[in-house]
Amino acid sequence: METQSLLVKQQNSKTIVKSPSLWKQTYLRLKKNKMAMVSLFFLMFMFLLSFIGPYFSPYILDRTDVANMNQPPSASHWLGTDNYGRDILTRLMMAGQISLTIGIAAMFLSILIGSLLGAISGFYRGIVDLVIMRLADILMSIPGLPLLLMMGAILSEWKVPAEYRLYLIMIMLSFVGWPGLARLVRGQILSLKEQPFMQATEVLGLSDRRKIFHHLIPNTVPILLVVATLNVAGSILSESALSYLGLGVVPPTPSWGNMMDAANNFMDFRKRPWLWIPPGTAIFLTVVSINLLGDGLRDALDPKLRR
């Protein structure tokens, strides 16, 4: 009798322990959000298309084909061909690799710089805080696109080869992106620092480095996750605008933005919409999906904020 009740107790405690983790709960909540799930699947599709799709394409990137110039979409060229007879779909997929990679890499860099500087300035306060935050203020008050344009112009001035330019674009985008993130992380750290678990780390005599990297920054991950997602969307948009203006990724490297450059030629713009509508649509759909996913994540991570 007694053993039985003990067993029940044990089972009970087991079920308590088994309550799903934060991430599992988030995932379950996210699964209920139809728009976010559709976006997630679309993004996966976009990634597969961009990174694996080219291997299934019968056409070789940058292979010109004079006999098939400016063909409208057909059975052999699903999205038509461009002025050099290159297959648009193949280029679109390769451009997707570039644009998605730049978006994600720029996000990681911004997060790295932003959360590090934000954490340091929120943790140490004082003069360090003052310097970092004023720097962030100043960078945030310089309008973003002109700043990027200027940096793009410098790259052209230095005659940076096309294949290195995309790395510099990532750095440029993160240079513009970190101040907002630093402010956000700093705000989070300031409120986290007042919580009892930080007193505990004080009592345990942990080093500052351990406090920051093992106790403070991990607690900002949920909010960072949301901001990071939205940041990817912003980076993809900025990169495409820069490339469209000829100051971002430059041909022959394809990107969704510089493929849209075809629209700058009035004949192509009027008569050959297959040259510029597919890349524009790809940017739009990708960015919309990322935004919807980010919004879904925000709701899922913090049910209190659910609106």
Binding site: I142, G280, R307
Partner: protein
């Protein structure tokens, strides 16, 4: 309150100087200038021109020099247009301003209306449609939507002009001139509105949702007030209060010109001047304009903080 404003004001001055120095410094270290990129000059002549424009002195010296002139309203000379920067910008900035101000008024009216309505009818089909449209509007690359609109309305339907501010060679004056400019403005204003209406609608929607859950709204309803009175008289005021600060943030946007939109629509605004000065390395123009916008941003932030403190006493106590 006085102390808060004063403190915030001093902070603003510091940031203004810091920003202007950083911008000046960035421009000073830019490789290549108008003189270097002109290959027809002999080295000797290039050197002469450099000393004429004071380009051969140390940066701090040049900055102080520039600052002194700028405080007297002299922002230098456009090397490409051979015109004073101030008068050059003055010529084009208003073209941008009028598009921006119309777009601003439209954006705020639409966002306020749809935001509040979709908050009141949360989870209705209307709310769903608005949410979806908001995300679509926030995600369109500006150049793509501009091009699509030109294609639809300018090329396919041919009901609106495809670009420019007036017809080529037009000599209309008076009312017909205004009508002509107005017709050319429809697409640019629509695009700018579309691009900014999304986030603002969301802002009003969340603001309204937060307010209608508060206790005093329940009290108002319990008193037996009509739903219309509860929403528009009691809730709306509190919901749009924080938005006043957002209006201050719009300040730089009114004058900045929309670089991409102006480029695509061939609109003779200040955004195109910016892009042009980037490609011609006409740094005095670009620098003066970047400074101008940064100053407006900083002043906008200051106004936002001060108005917020004025309408919400809780802020001052920090």
């Amino acid at each position: 309150m006085k102390q808060y404003v004063l403190q915030r004001f001093l902070q603003m001055i510091v940031i203004l100087f810091g920003t202007s120095f950083i911008i000046f410094f960035l421009f000073a270290i830019l490789p290549g200038d108008f003189i270097d990129s002109n290959i027809s000059l002999t080295p000797q002549r290039a050197q002469e021109l450099k000393s004429l424009y004071g380009l051969d002195q140390p940066i701090l010296h040049r900055y102080l020099n520039w600052l002194g002139n700028a405080l007297h309203g002299d922002f230098g000379y456009s090397l490409k247009h051979q015109e004073k920067v101030l008068s050059l910008l003055n010529k084009y900035v208003w073209n941008s301003f009028f598009v921006a101000i119309f777009a601003l008024i439209l954006t705020w009216s639409i966002a306020l209306l749809t935001g509040v309505l979709s908050a009141i009818k949360q989870y209705s089909w209307f709310d769903g449609a608005v949410t979806f449209l908001v995300f679509a509007a926030m995600s369109f690359p500006s150049f793509f939507i501009s091009l699509l609109f030109i294609k639809w309305f300018g090329v396919d339907l041919q009901i609106l002009p495809i670009g420019g501010m007036i017809e080529t060679g037009s000599e209309n004056t008076g009312v017909s001139y205004l009508l002509e400019v107005g017709k050319h403005m429809i697409l640019p204003v629509t695009i700018l509105t579309l691009l900014s209406v999304g986030s603002l609608t969301r802002y009003f929607r969340t603001g309204m949702l937060e307010v209608i859950r508060l206790d005093y709204i329940r009290t108002a309803r319990a008193k037996g007030l009509k739903e219309r009175v509860v929403i528009f008289k009691h809730a709306l005021k509190n919901a749009i209060l924080p938005a006043i600060t957002l209006l201050a943030f719009e300040l730089p946007g009114l004058f900045s010109g929309a670089i991409i939109m102006e480029q695509i629509f061939n609109w003779p605004g200040v955004g195109r001047i910016q892009l042009e000065s980037v490609s011609f390395r006409d740094y005095p123009v670009l620098m003066a304009f970047t400074m101008f916008l940064s100053c407006l941003t900083i002043i906008g932030n200051f106004l936002a903080d001060v108005t917020y403190a004025a309408v919400d006493p809780r802020i001052r106590l920090r």
